[in-house]
Subunit: 340 residues, 4 copies
């Protein structure tokens, strides 16, 4: 299978709510929640994409080339690329019910494909318990090689889910704290809510796993995340699905990097579509990226093989971008790469 | 009735001059005066809308949630939301003559619908006396629960209308001073004109009702409004219907807030279409908002029930936006909510 | 005749090269030289229009209204409005040969129409001698009430043409110095060229008439114009017809106003389409405006009556704009009117 | 043959991958590599074009005109215009295989046409040896009047090719160092790579010919180029074909001019389409320009005659632009020409 075939497959899936656009930029699906889109005007998704494209990079090929190394260590584990699949849950309500790809099958593609490509996939949670447990079953079937992402439920519910994750042998666990106002959950009557630092501290101290807080969009939020004892954050506006008209994640990244001061790992998602995008956010201080919707296309179009193929594609693009900007390793991707 | 049904109804009204666009942004109706549009190029209306959308907000859900309270007190009266229906008059000339919805029936929907939703509606005035008196009759039928808005007629005419309003038992009275050059009135040969501070002082001191000056677009104008003894102002460019190429209301809001220094209440209209827009202008210092054209759609599509439905819809959106930005009450909506 | 009829007429003229667009903004005719367009990309014309629209004005109707006075004195003559018809020559090559409206008939409409409306028209010059002499004949038939505009020919040729103008009894004479590279003239083999300050001094000292230099686009150019002894300048990029990618005239106006320091009269043309545009450039320091292409539509659609109608239309719009921004006379139109 | 005929010819070529757009701006062919386009989103090509158009120039025709002189000396040779054909190789893979115009025939048009017009053409290199040797054969047939451009191969390969160039009697030799990551070469398995200053020094000291480094996009890169002993650089992003989302060449030109401080000649390419564009980049400090894709149209549409015609066309446009901005010679084209 090549990438063209993968895209062709994805386009033919019956009832697939994603249009498999040539550019996954949030325009065609704007407002489609449930569905693949951003909330209301869709601008929070669209802006993620647009603001990345506004960033320009410095081409320079006068240097002594070395082999380009895209590998990194994160939370004590080695990865081939700083590229991870973002958690996506509720496959049937969001992507259609005719294709039969539920949270189990989707997670299977993600977890196995990322593993084959040398990275790792995040899995989701949602209105039904199975949106959490089914993906976790896939992780278990893959020796714990996945990162479950828990919604901000009541404390005891969160802690119960972390315990399930621990049993599955995962390397880390995450919470998408920005799901506090998620429409789909409100519709299902499941009580999620914002959480103060104290409650997050309680949760994080209840596990020995590295804990990742996803949905940080301000320096202040990052400082609060630091206080909670989290090992990392994901700068994310939930793909624009929880609040319209937020800034782009790449816009708030620099101030968050300054606020964190190296004391936590910083991942970022939001409109990252190419290896050059990965280079850009790493140059701005991120340690790695999460990619969401394109992985849905990869998984639907090629299952685990498609996910592996897509991950390697973005990885190779990152290598090319590093070559053209004089970066031999991820550490060498500094702010000098960005045109000011 | 739900919102979709309301929109469907509005679209089927015979001869309705409003196109019921998915986004009420001033583009389709540009130049349509009489009609629902902005004057000439329509840019003063369009810019109101666009500039609101350019404002980005800070998502933050790490905090101790409380129940969200959207209520406020204004001019001594309690309201459920800081959301009010703007005065609109001349329904037949502006919105068509085939549907039979005149100023009386329109005001009936607005006054009763807002009342049911826990807020209040402003009513209009215009080329014919009945554009003022018919809405006032509706207000009277609703125990005075409405705010009449008087054009800048000659002094004695204004004072006469205020007296009618007092008799109707209204909580406040307004004047759209920016109607001084309104085309429709010029066409009908009715003498409106700008008014100096002295004349406005005379008017305002002639009544014990709180007086609201609508159509302030500069800090200097706000300072003059303060001198007049007005209890509040509405930052408004009359929906772009009196002068082309003004700035957006949300652009001039901050400097007006600074000029007023808390000494008057500040309402604002102009392109406010969502609860998130309400949050944005409150964060910039407004005390409440007026919404115009979408209430026409609500009233035409669902009468008082539609107006109530629409008001609650925007109110619930405001609640959601407050939840996602860490604001438990209107007082907590500060400039920290705005992304800079 | 009303304006709608005028436009309707203009649209039906056989072979009229102007498309009579709803917005005369340089887009449809871009690159059409000969023809009505701007040179090459047409951006110098388009930018004139766009930059005017970017300027926003301060609505303020809290003031003691007086009757609005749009009159002015210029070069010792009284005018009803600060609105003049720009010189346009070569009607057949630029606007088509089927309609039979040559430079004589066009000038007749312009000169007579402007006179009736209380202003004055500029006339043109060009590749053929008759492009200068025929309009001058019209001016003579109207007691000298027109301002001929001479191309930068050789000295003796210019002086000869000024003498003809003096005999016709004109109140002033102009030169479009920016025609130095005009394509149409180059095609006709007529020697025009830039002129140094000395040559312009020689020309200007050869007449007692006020002399207006048209085609100034820099502060430095304005300073040189001052040295020549000119009585006034026209800030103009020749409607974008002599050089692509110049700034808009309204962009360079403020620095030219500063350089001139009140020592010459400053007129401006370039995309002025409404009375509000007139208010904007007067607020930025201009003494009056020239309007070009819309006068072609007015003259073709309604002859002298059309020109009078159009001039009054723009004049009334100026009055309305003054009313809404608190300006009782042209002197009161200051930079305070502009939103910053 | 005139230019219209040339364009008409080009449009009728069977299988020509270039669409011969009215504006050669990178939009229609975006992502077409191989093909005529920019890489991926094509934005690096498009931005070159757009940023040039954003630059505005100062019209001024009050000066003593002299005859306009567009000639210059470069690397000891006289040229009529500062306008050169950029190196383009791999004609069959990039522009189609049905028209039969290979690198030999293309170079013949370029080399002979530029020579006739009084300038010089650069030739290319590529995946196959003949992409270098065939153009060089044309140069030899024209008394060495061409500048071969060598890819960043291994040292011995580069030096071998320089020796071939020396034998052909060329006035200078170039290297497109930014081809270090060229997709087409990677596909053909040919080892190109970045080169450190030391390797470039070794290459440059191996020849007495002036050496031009093409593909400089940063001040730092220009400083490194200075260290290598190069006689000149070409500010270039390879027409957007080697890295997406670089800045435009005209954006980085000023800082490179500052870094070079007059110690090397500075050429530039990237979206230059008119004589006015040439004036703009010369005003910003460049010594001359390379033009790429439009020369393909000229060569395909008119062979050597077309190339001569096109070069003169751009040259005459440059003359006109100089006349309208008061520049009698290339030295007089200073930053004063640019509107700030």
């Amino acid at each position: 299978m090549d990438f063209k075939k993968l895209i062709g497959n994805a386009k033919q899936i019956e009832g697939f709510k994603c249009r498999v656009c040539p550019q996954c930029n949030g325009k065609a699906c704007r407002g489609e929640v449930p569905g693949p889109g951003g909330k209301d005007s869709g601008m929070a998704f669209i802006r993620n994409y647009d603001k990345l494209n506004e960033i320009k990079v410095n081409l320079d090929t006068i240097y002594a080339p070395v082999s380009v190394d895209t590998s990194l260590e994160l939370f004590g584990k080695p990865f081939r690329y700083p590229i991870f699949a973002a958690p996506i849950g509720g496959l049937i309500p969001n992507y259609g019910d005719k294709h039969g790809i539920d949270d189990y099958h989707y997670s299977k593609a993600i977890i196995e494909g990322c593993k084959r490509a040398g990275t790792i996939g995040f899995t989701g949670d949602g209105a039904k318990d199975e949106f959490y447990t089914e993906p976790l079953r896939v992780i278990q079937e893959n020796e714990g090689w996945g990162i479950p992402t828990i919604k901000p439920w009541k404390q005891e519910e969160v802690i119960k889910r972390i315990e399930l994750a621990e049993k599955a042998g995962v390397p880390a666990v995450a919470m998408d704290i920005d799901a506090a106002g998620l429409i789909l959950l409100a519709m299902a009557g499941k009580p999620v809510s914002p959480k103060p630092v104290e409650e997050l501290k309680e949760i994080i101290s209840a596990t020995k796993l590295p804990f990742i807080l996803k949905g940080i969009m301000t320096a202040k939020g990052a400082e609060k995340a630091l206080e909670t004892g989290a090992s990392g954050i994901v700068v994310s506006n939930h793909g624009g699905r929880v609040l319209d008209h937020t800034p782009a994640t790449v816009e708030v990244l620099p101030e968050i990097v300054r606020a964190v001061g190296g004391k936590m790992k910083i991942l970022i998602d939001g409109g990252i579509r190419t290896g050059l995008d990965v280079l850009k956010v790493l140059a701005l201080g991120a340690d790695g990226v999460l990619i969401g919707r394109p992985y849905v296309v990869a998984a639907f179009g090629g299952a685990a093989e498609g996910v592996e193929l897509y991950t390697n594609r973005i990885g190779v693009e990152l290598e090319e971008a590093m070559l053209m900007t004089g970066c031999g390793s991820l550490q060498e991707i500094t702010s000098e790469v960005i045109y000011k």
